[in-house]
Symmetry: C2
Subunit: 411 residues, 2 copies
């Protein structure tokens, strides 16, 4: 174990111990992630999977060098916030609206199919109804961070399918929020329709409002930002909007990353040609490894290491992957088989969204430790499965797609 | 109080509370800091002082919106680490060696004079000897972050006096470390010369080693970094070196920021012309406000709000400022009055270094709550006092100085 006091004999007199531990944690997480990424890149595998794998290996399941803590999850949260902000900066609102209907259909089918599959499996397995509902709910929401990172690194964010995925992930998050509200109410003994209605109205209203008038508002106040005296005014303004809309989204109950994505989209037109996108990229580049490594560190093999647990974990993970491919793929079928597969596979990762649902269920004593461990395994594994399939699916698309809008041609 | 549960009625069902709190803390700190900075810039006052002031106002002493926590201090530490890395990137090792002797003299006199003054004041005030020694030690080490930020914003980091300040701050930190080792040993009942000798040798050895061979080593492996497949290889490499040398410095007992500064210096030649300095600047721009606001939040007026406390706090703060100006100014006197004043005032800020010493003393029960509050006040106020004097002292220097080496002309 690296983190024991005996490692710092010299520091014994200096109270600086916690500083050293912090730096050690940051260093180990960042450098291991990037070493794995380098190795994966050399064998043409996605860096995203490499960094999650780094987390599994240095985390409690294998080496135990770093434990998930408030620090790691804080850096992870800020990291994924900036990632989605950065992705939003490359997405014009009109790009999303153009694919709006298709994205809605992808989101709806991608919510219904996994929910029914998860619920049915747990009922057939002989588990209580409320646990089956929670596991179904944990299978619902796509975590768009992983896919966004892979698409961004392959430079295919401008593709129609990429936009469908981004749009569907936002809608999917609002739907996931509503399902979560319903199941939480059920677990407490009764469904409060008024509260759920309020939450739904707020979430949908916020998303539509920012998507519809955000860009126009930013364009209107752009000249004021230019006149600011504070250093790096565009970057400062962008960070403030990102944090602010992330906060509002989180307060309403939608994931903060949806707010950050909308913030990026609102700023996408007015920051073209400035240094801001590149600066946001640099901040993301530093913070994102902590998000990916932190996902890997969540894996707890000891939570389900029984014969039943292993079988259930593999089954749920398989279902999680296949139901998104089927549900979302069906909705995207009119685009042709390859694009339908791109959309379906792109929606597989659950990441931290599934973990949050499972933690909520555990806190309410509605799901067992076994189901919790199984959902955690599914959440981590689904993020690890998707990237290696995404890379070949999108390969060569940068050149051939007709409706692609490369970033460099936007200005 | 913003952070109470009643503020989040909608979130009651969603366990997402801690996410929202985190975002709220980040948003309030970042936006308040930047609002104050904007106002100060408009009345031609330094943004650094504005952001510290923002911390005092939103911190526990005034509004109590945000409390200093592990989260805020973590972000603060990473922020100042990147600031010094960024400053190091603009400093060639040869620039520091050219002013080495002068910087050493500045550091030594700037340590001796404040120590004697602090010790004498507390003895005359009738306080115990060990407390007087701790207060003297807390007055020793300059916190170079504040001055570096002001100099960087004024674009005068290339000046001879700026280099003397940076060099002296590094040496001063090593000296401060040794004094701290001595007083800690004394507080424990005996001085362990062997241990102090080891610490001294390690600290001096590390600093000289990195300063002397760091740049050459980086230049040698530069072509390997260029061949890396991982995205943004230069930035990733730079961040890894920054965290790594910060960690080693912290492990040895020197401040981590000295390691980060040396890391930047080692990379300064090989990253010219790349995007890396600008990317490091973006990361700094996001994280630095948390450092400055966190300094302000440390102020606890309630710790010394007696007649004796107020008088002592003002006296110690005055002594802290004037002794650095006299000690460092004397050492820099051969450069002329104006430059001597630049160096002296540039060395005033104590910031987190003084706070660490005071916390150590409090933990060892060698200083009273009163002395602790007084040192905290001195540390925060010294960071607030220096910038408004630095701005006029360095005004117009960018154009007139002969030996200035602007960054843009280096490539």
């Amino acid at each position: 174990m690296i983190f024991t006091g005996e490692m710092y004999p010299l520091l014994a007199v200096f109270a600086a111990d916690s500083h050293t531990k912090l730096l050690l944690t940051l260093f180990v997480m960042f450098v291991t992630a990037k070493l794995f990424a380098e190795i994966f890149e050399r064998v043409k595998q996605p860096a995203v999977a490499a960094e999650i794998l780094a987390g599994i290996i240095i985390g409690p399941s294998v080496l135990g060098w770093v434990q998930p803590s408030e620090l790691t999850s804080t850096l992870a949260e800020i990291g994924v916030l900036f990632l989605l902000f950065r992705v939003g900066l490359e997405t014009r609102p009109s790009d999303i609206f153009r694919v709006g209907l298709r994205a809605t259909l992808v989101a709806v089918l991608g919510v219904i199919v996994p929910f029914i599959a998860g619920y049915t499996l747990f009922r057939l397995w002989g588990r209580p109804q409320i646990e089956a509902i929670f596991v179904g709910a944990a299978l619902v929401a796509t975590s768009v961070g992983i896919t966004a990172r892979v698409l961004g690194q392959m430079n295919v964010l401008g593709l129609e399918t990429s936009r469908i995925i981004l749009g569907a992930a936002v809608i999917d998050d609002v739907l996931g929020l509503l399902i979560l509200a319903v199941v939480s109410s059920m677990a407490k003994g009764g469904v409060d329709y008024a509260e759920i209605g309020t939450t739904a109205a707020l979430a949908i209203g916020f998303t539509l409002l920012v998507a519809l008038v955000g860009a126009r508002t930013v364009n209107k106040i752009r000249h004021r930002v230019e006149k600011l005296r504070v250093g790096q005014a565009y970057l400062v303004f962008g960070l403030a909007v990102c944090l602010g809309l992330g906060l509002v989204a989180s307060y309403i109950g939608v994931a903060a990353i949806v707010g950050a994505f909308l913030a990026g989209m609102a700023l996408s037109e007015s920051t073209e040609g400035t240094d801001m996108p590149m600066q946001a990229e640099a901040v993301t580049e530093f913070l994102l490894p902590f998000f990916l490594v932190n996902i890997g560190m969540q894996l707890r093999l000891d939570a389900f290491l029984t014969r039943e647990g292993i079988v259930l974990a593999l089954l749920v993970t398989f279902l999680a992957a296949i139901t998104k491919v089927i549900g979302c793929g069906l909705a995207a079928a009119p685009l042709g088989f390859k694009r339908a597969m791109q959309v379906g596979v792109g929606m597989i990762p659950r990441g931290e969204v599934g973990i949050v649902v499972a933690q909520l269920g555990l806190g309410m004593h509605t799901i067992s430790d076994l189901a919790y461990g199984v959902v955690l395994f599914m959440a981590v594994m689904s993020t690890l499965i998707a990237p290696p399939f995404l890379v070949p699916l999108f390969k060569g698309e940068q050149q051939t797609e007709d409706d692609m809008l490369p970033i460099s041609s936007l200005s």
